[in-house]
Symmetry: C2
Subunit: 494 residues, 2 copies
């Protein structure tokens, strides 16, 4: 390795040290920090973030990167892919003028407050001017970053490398006709079958025991991780061997914390499976939100909501929670497969979730194609909601004001949730072609499945575009059919 290359390595490693130090402070802020510390903590985090940003956007960084590119062996395709992605990130970071970044930070900070008020008072008009400004900033970002077909592509691609409006439109066009039907059938069947879970309390200490046992069993490493408690569950990486999860507990329903843990452990095992030897490099980094979500959904839904999984674990749950003794495994599976049309995305289930995303994608697409005036957003939301769910939101607080994302200027983010679901189904379909993996899953032994994910997804870091990663892992383009087949088989029984 040439001297220049070492020097880029060193710069990147330093940035990773800074970024992960900030992650420790961020984790502490959400878990254990005493309340009066928040003001100073914000200052600490802002200092660290400025240090990392300064370095990663400096001319020194660009020069070292360029030198690394020049001295990279032509035949070392992985390293070329690594440096190519590092260059893309540098450009994403430097193509935006400092004033624009500062303006966005300021506007979104005001917008978040305005959104909270607007939602509370059910008054879209209060949020509208802020939203308009954020859309305008997003448009300017798209222009600065550049795109081939349309501005929305640039916004999609900053969350999901290589994703385009055309690609997502294709996927949602395939999903739309069948998904509504599946969802409706699932809701009807669930209405007939589902029995409420026996009353709590499901003691927290017992929930923790079960969650930890299961997380360990599916392959999440506690030598390089832990589970804590927060209001909003998350997974965060504090270093190459330090990937932590959180969940929240509901004494009346142990499934709430458990499925939270399965979801976050999916994220966590992806992070634990990334190459740890070059922190901060694309080669050692997660590639996209969609691929990340594919891992969480895979463990939460394909594994965690499967009958084979519960054939192993339900007896243990019954011994921890005696009130389950009168609730059969069949009863429990109906509970786990409950489907309902919900007004609120975050409360929705596996069968109906992607309808919520579809709605947001269609609206965002129209906004950035200038086919929808922001003032008309509430009406457009409600109209589409009726089409997809057969009911009208009672107000905007339960409609277009429900999500935090737009108040943060995060346009093009929602579709990554559905990409996660589609990829998860496609990956599971491909993995199950291997009889060892299939037999393992059918007896709730997930070693072979995790090994396959490590080999086909985790170890590649961010070297290839998500679509290419899926292609290499499954042999076909990202497609919607696998997910439709999965939902149909689980929720409609065909």
């Amino acid at each position: 390795m040439s001297e220049q290359n070492v020097s880029f390595q060193e710069l990147v490693r330093e940035c990773a040290l800074i970024g992960t130090s900030a992650a420790v402070l961020g984790w502490d802020q959400e878990t254990y920090m005493p309340e009066d510390a928040s003001g100073f903590r914000a200052e600490q985090l802002s200092w660290l973030s400025a240090q990392a940003h300064q370095r990663a956007t400096s001319p020194q960084w660009a020069d070292a990167l360029e030198a690394a590119v020049q001295s990279c062996d032509e035949k070392d395709l992985a390293e070329r892919a690594n440096l190519f992605e590092m260059k893309r990130r540098y450009e994403l970071a430097t193509k935006l003028p400092v004033e624009l970044v500062a303006r966005e930070a300021k506007v979104s900070s005001h917008a978040k407050r305005a959104w909270m008020e607007a939602r509370k008072e059910n008054d879209f008009a209060k949020f509208l001017p802020h939203l308009a400004e954020l859309v305008e900033i997003a448009r300017e970002k798209a222009e600065r970053w550049g795109y081939t077909d349309e501005p929305y592509d640039a916004l999609l691609s900053c969350h999901e490398r290589g994703a385009t409006t055309a690609m997502l439109s294709g996927l949602f066009d395939t999903l739309r006709p069948q998904l509504s039907g599946i969802a409706r059938a699932a809701v009807e069947r669930s209405r007939d079958r589902a029995r409420p879970l026996p009353a709590g309390p499901y003691p927290l200490a017992q929930q923790m025991i079960l969650n930890e046992k299961i997380a360990r069993d599916i392959g999440y490493s506690f030598a390089a991780g832990r589970i804590d408690t927060t209001t909003h569950p998350f997974c965060t990486t504090l270093g190459p061997c330090d990937v932590r999860l959180t969940t929240r507990y509901d004494e009346s329903d142990f499934c709430s914390s458990l499925f939270g843990v399965l979801h976050e452990a999916g994220h966590g095992m992806y992070e634990q499976g990334l190459p740890g030897d070059r922190p901060g490099m694309a080669a050692g980094d997660a590639v996209s939100l969609g691929i990340h979500e594919s891992q969480s959904r895979l463990w939460e839904n394909h594994v965690g909501r499967s009958r084979a999984f519960w054939e192993k674990w339900y007896p243990q749950a019954v011994s921890l929670f005696p009130q389950l003794q009168t609730f059969s495994l069949d009863d429990f599976m109906s509970h786990v497969h409950q489907a309902n049309f919900s007004l609120i995305r975050v409360e929705s289930d596996e069968a109906t979730y992607d309808l919520h995303i579809m709605l947001r994608f269609l609206l965002e697409k129209k906004i950035f194609r200038s086919e929808l005036a922001l003032a008309d957003l509430p009406a457009a939301w409600n109209e589409l909601f009726v089409e997809l769910f057969g009911m009208t939101p009672p107000d905007d607080a339960h409609g277009c004001l429900q999500d935090i994302h737009w108040s943060m200027g995060a346009f093009g983010y929602f579709p990554t949730y559905t990409l996660g679901n589609l990829h998860a189904s496609q990956l599971i379909h491909a993995a199950r072609q291997d009889s060892t993996i299939r037999d393992g899953m059918d007896s709730a032994q997930y070693g072979p499945l995790l090994a396959w994910l490590r080999e086909n997804i985790h170890r590649h870091g961010a070297l290839w575009d998500p679509a290419e990663l899926i292609r290499r892992a499954t042999g076909s383009e990202p497609e919607a059919q696998y997910h439709l087949a999965h939902l149909s088989s689980r929720y409609v029984g065909v």
Copy 2:
């Protein structure tokens, strides 16, 4: 405030942000960090520490400090004291050449391993060459820092600003004749009276309830702090409103965690009482180890081992731990006032503790006066131990190899423990001249006492030398008589 002054403020604040960020990572390392993360955590901490060190020893720092001194109002005595101390710290940090600092780090890292082996194998010879090198380095540091009377002064003063060999010799000379007598009487009385605490288990969850209740009651703020569990109890400051304690639990003795909490809460309330508006400045910093220890000992011993305290809290302990029902308050007070001659400093009690420190002070003084060859240290230790305790250590592992301090090159550190005890007794004596404080203490209400400490100790940060701080707070020089009187009254009953 002039522009230069603002700029020094900014540099100092930045350094405080870095130092406290490192403190967050350090706290996490001791409390919750998963085991595999330790290698990368060391890199994160080393980056942060280098950033802080670079800044605090840079010419820019010196220039800004000088500018601040030049523009400081002559009449602003507090600010002059603040800048004077910042200058002293800058000099302490910059008077040592980089090579010496690097050499010390390397030598002490080897020495620590050698000491652990030597202690394990009871083989002083293994540690001797490392100790010799560390003493040589300490001598060089003393020469570089400078001193008036003798090299040991410089080492004392780096832990305890302004402390000298002469001053400490005076204090220990007063202590020595009476302390041995008090200790012997205390041990004898304790042998007659002490009854063992009823058998455990004292459940951890109940211990935590009692500890938190008491810590809150004496004035430790949980809005700016918390208590976690570690092998070695400590107190650490993560920001102006974030001062955390740890303790360890023993299911067979609830006193172990409780006195740990009282001790650390004493440190914690001092930190919580420091001015929080200028983090990193001497004005907002603890002044010395001795003053810090005076606060921890005050709450642990003067408050926590007093009968008034337990008249309030013992009934609550009994209701949490039913096995105490047959153990009277008198029994319990005898347990709390147990005194024994121990070979090991960290296992010793209030009545005998300072004898252990005296021994170390006398030996260190001889070493740095070149009156004691290091090879003769074990014999000298044992000889003095017989004089002070009336018994001979069975081996060096229970003698001169027992403490970690020398293996870290921390010479001149031990005396701060006794300074803490002396100051605590002197402060309590002065505070109790106020009838509100006295009445409060006698009914286990500590608001007035804490207010007095805030006013007379905490709020002054590191503006004045420890001895000056004691003089201002109590009206007299640091003296040993108050501590002798306290021990005598508690342990000999006169």
